[in-house]
Symmetry: C2
Subunit: 138 residues, 2 copies
DNA sequence: ACATGAATTTAGAATCATTCTAAATGCTAT
DNA sequence: ATAGCATTTAGAATGATTCTAAATTCATGT
């Protein structure tokens, strides 16, 4: 949880001018951990009375990704999902209810060898299946 | 490398009727390891004089995915990529040249804990960065 | 304050991968 | 042969994303 002053500092530390729209989006993403789609983000902010245009949502999310604040999660070729970059973690995707769970992963301790890699910028792990909740329901 | 008799048997073992189009696609995917897009698959087969309609390419790839012959690799929200399912492996994606490298990964030895998972159907690991070839070029 | 120019936001058009639809073709069994 | 079903097909429809060009906001110098 960060307040607006802290969010402003985060943006400035990344060389991003903290406009109202950018702060609203960063604040939203900072407290939303369900890996929302653009549509969800846009609708939620509109429901709060903060109507940014959808173009701004796209532009700003793309800017945040470029600056290393967010990452995009591509689960299917429908809508992209956005995830605030905190500590590294993996994802478990329930193919029944669609939920995306963050799961702790210590990438450095996996000792993965990628012989073709010159340098690594991002590490992603996705497991897919049925989550416990759905499994219990049968 | 499998011949057409073996590919036919593979399809039948999955409950898929081995039509000419399905065999051509399976044969192509069986010997193509660059994770091609639909467009590439369609163009390559057309260039070989085997013109399937694009709808058939889509339909058949989707069928193969459903039957566990292929998996889809979602790298970005542009075109999906298709990968023949052999032994488990990870992927390294070069953000410079776009190449996708298969990398050996022993998933069972990673000892990953996914507390929310009831059952796991598919495991994916993606690392992204710059490949050695691009890095050497500077 | 005010004007100027740059950055940001915006609405709507354009793009394009994928899915849908409905017709055509090909197979199988009687 | 024929009926019935599966498969293939072309083209239209869909929809997330990107593009474009105009409007607005912001910062700076006078």
């Amino acid at each position: 949880m960060k307040n607006f002053a802290e969010l402003t500092m985060l943006l400035e530390s990344k060389g991003i001018k903290p406009s109202l729209q950018r702060l609203l989006l960063l604040n939203y993403m900072n407290s939303c951990h369900v890996h929302p789609t653009v549509e969800q983000i846009y609708a939620d902010l509109a429901a709060q009375g903060q109507a940014l245009s959808k173009a701004t949502v796209y532009n700003t999310l793309t800017l945040f990704v470029k600056k290393g604040i967010l990452r995009i999660v591509y689960l299917d070729n429908n809508e992209a999902r956005y995830d605030i970059l905190t500590n590294d973690h993996g994802h478990f995707v329930c193919e029944c209810c669609g939920a995306i769970y963050d799961e702790p992963v210590e990438f450095d301790q996996l000792n993965l060898q990628f012989p073709e890699a010159g340098s690594i910028r991002q590490r992603d792990i996705f497991y897919r299946g049925v989550c416990k909740r759905c499994k219990d329901k049968g």
